[in-house]
């Protein structure tokens, strides 16, 4: 009895431990397979051509700059929408809304996070972009702006939930102190609670940005997919193409192992590195804040 128990315990502990390490293994595997399929590009396509302004793979133009600028412009637009509305909603939910309102709003925001991006893209094509075309009098509604609006909506739940967590962890004593000094609720939120939650809110913004850069289906369906350099303000009102949409739209048509195939994986490496940087930066902000808090307490 004692013996079998020990044996079971031993095996299970080993299994649980191995599962614990799995996340590291998967990140390593993902990176390895992206490198394996994507790095040959650096040999096959000269760097000057890879970072040129023309993406037209059928005629061997593999310039990924238009795709990078496309991703950037759509993400910037989405951030400009998601950050104010996300933080505003988080403040409303955590500081202003009555309890019953909070119970309704939180699941609704969570629901937005769960809406399949393809459904949003579908409505973007059928409802949003025709509206933008007529309203702004554009030749086509499938523009960076349409992508930004929908991506903003997709990034909002991330921003709301993390910013709200950050606001929630601000000790009540901070607020009470401000009230005792005669501050209004608004002054308390603006000058005490929000600054105290600063690092968490910053994390929320960064993860929202990360969410927007990586989104694929929605942008592919509504941005019009024209691989042109998007570097002026006017680019918001014309079609662009993002890195994610390029991979999704073109991977199905290329021959395995071709230059084209390797280049699409190379774009995957770029995306992977960006998301790695954003997420490590976001989590180190949290770690730093925690350490500072520990210093203050000790």
């Amino acid at each position: 009895m004692e013996k079998t128990l020990n044996w079971r315990e031993f095996v299970i502990t080993r299994l649980v431990r191995a599962s614990g390490y799995s996340a590291i293994v998967f990140v390593a595997l993902i990176f390895f397979f992206l490198l394996r399929e994507g790095l040959p590009t650096l040999v096959e396509v000269p760097l000057s051509s890879l970072f040129s302004l023309r993406w037209y793979p059928i005629e061997n133009y593999f310039g990924i700059l238009p795709l990078i600028t496309g991703s950037i412009i759509v993400t910037v637009g989405a951030t400009l929408i998601a950050v104010p509305f996300g933080i505003g909603t988080a403040i409303y939910i955590s500081e202003i809304a009555p309890r019953w309102m909070r119970e309704i709003l939180k699941p609704l925001v969570e629901l937005l996070g769960g809406l399949p991006s393809v459904v949003l893209g579908f409505l973007g094509m059928l409802v949003l972009s025709p509206f933008l075309r007529v309203f702004l009098n554009l030749p086509t509604g499938l523009t960076a702006l349409a992508g930004s609006i929908l991506l903003g909506g997709i990034a909002v739940p991330t921003v709301v939930s993390i910013a709200e967590d950050a606001l929630d962890t601000v000790p009540r004593a901070y607020r009470e102190g401000a009230w005792a000094l005669g501050a209004t609720n608004w002054q308390t939120i603006w000058r005490v609670t929000l600054p105290a939650a600063k690092s968490g809110v910053l994390t929320a913004v960064m993860l929202g940005v990360g969410r927007a850069i990586g989104e694929t289906m929605t942008v592919m369906m509504v941005t019009g997919n024209a691989p042109v350099m998007a570097i002026t303000l006017g680019s918001f009102f014309s079609p662009v193409r993002t890195m994610t949409a390029t991979i999704a739209a073109e991977m199905g048509e290329v021959a395995n192992g071709s230059v084209y195939y390797h280049t699409l994986f190379f774009i995957g490496i770029v995306l992977f590195v960006i998301s790695l940087a954003v997420n490590i930066a976001a989590s180190s902000v949290v770690f730093r804040a925690k350490r500072r808090a520990e210093r203050v307490l000790s």
């Binding site: 431990r17 993902i30 925001v109 937005l112 393809v118 969410r211 199905g252 998301s275």
Partner: protein, 287 residues
């Protein structure tokens, strides 16, 4: 002077609160509008024939049964791989892991997994499962790809649920002679179950609605029958919606909205179940 100042800051507060409330409304209202709009537009398309028959006329008529069944298979397949692994990983982090560099690395890896773009998961699945392991474009490859994408959601929510179980429960079990695993299996896991379940369902909900990871790993453009082995490719609701709204000319709008509604219903049902489990567990919890 003083009263003007007070009046002023109360006015500012009133203005500020109105602005914030307006922002919250603008953020939340579209969600309600989207759901109601799809319900109204897609409702008329729903019939037994639509739900239970195979697409005809280049998908412009008939039903979407293969896509519904495909999404069901993919969700189950994802659960088979990601649920045991995710929960075990959460148990490790909450019950076994020491606070050291390795554990911090695991946490950073989990954060990174959750941030990797879905289309990059698709590339990875293509590279590893479809080509290297030669599973082909199949339900198996797609499920494995979706599992790895779902893993961070399950791990973090399950870990949070496990950590919420009071330490005294563990102390009592160990003091009665329970081993570590017995304590986890009989005390901690049952207490954390509702929280874990909520996380699992929310993770699977995300997997069910994803398109990009299955594009090159298992999704079929059109399949006039149901898949009959895990090594078959399959139609899936999100990919089908993408196909009929961008790749098929002269597609009746009614079928598009109907497909969107079925996908939405699938996802919303899972969301609702998760919300109900969570609120019921919260109401019943005694600690």
């Amino acid at each position: 002077m003083k009263s003007a100042f007070t009046l002023n800051r109360h006015l500012v507060q009133r203005f500020g609160f109105s602005l914030i409330t307006l922002m919250a409304v603008v953020t939340v209202a579209p969600i309600v509008v989207v759901v109601i709009y799809i319900l109204l537009q897609g409702g008329p398309a729903i019939s037994w024939e639509f739900l239970l028959s195979i697409p005809r006329d280049g998908m412009r008529a008939g039903g979407i049964l293969p896509a519904i069944v495909g999404t069901f298979y993919l969700t189950v397949g994802t659960a088979v791989f990601s649920v045991p692994l995710g929960i075990a990983s959460a148990i490790y982090l909450s019950e076994y892991a020491a606070d050291n560099a390795l554990t911090r690395m695991i946490r950073i890896a989990i954060i990174n997994l959750s941030g990797i773009p879905s289309v990059v998961y698709g590339l990875f699945g293509l590279g590893l499962f479809v080509l290297f392991l030669k599973f082909g474009t199949s339900i198996l490859s797609a499920s494995l790809t979706l599992s790895i994408m779902t893993l961070p959601v399950i791990i973090s929510t399950a870990e949070e649920a496990l950590r919420a179980v009071p330490q005294s429960f563990r102390t009592v079990s160990v003091s009665l002679g329970g081993t570590r695993w017995q304590t986890i299996q009989r005390i901690v896991l049952p207490q954390a179950l509702p929280g874990i379940l909520t996380g699992v369902i929310l993770g699977l909900e995300r997997a069910a609605g994803e398109t990009a990871p299955i594009l090159f790993t298992g999704a079929a453009f059109f399949l006039p029958r149901l898949p009959n082995s895990p090594l078959d490719a399959t139609m899936a609701l999100p990919y089908h919606l993408f196909v009929i709204s961008t790749q098929v000319p002269d597609m009746p709008v009614k079928i598009q909205y109907g497909t969107a509604l079925v996908l939405l219903a699938f996802v919303l049902t899972m969301n609702l179940i998760a919300t109900v489990i969570r609120s019921r567990a919260r109401a019943r919890r005694q600690w």
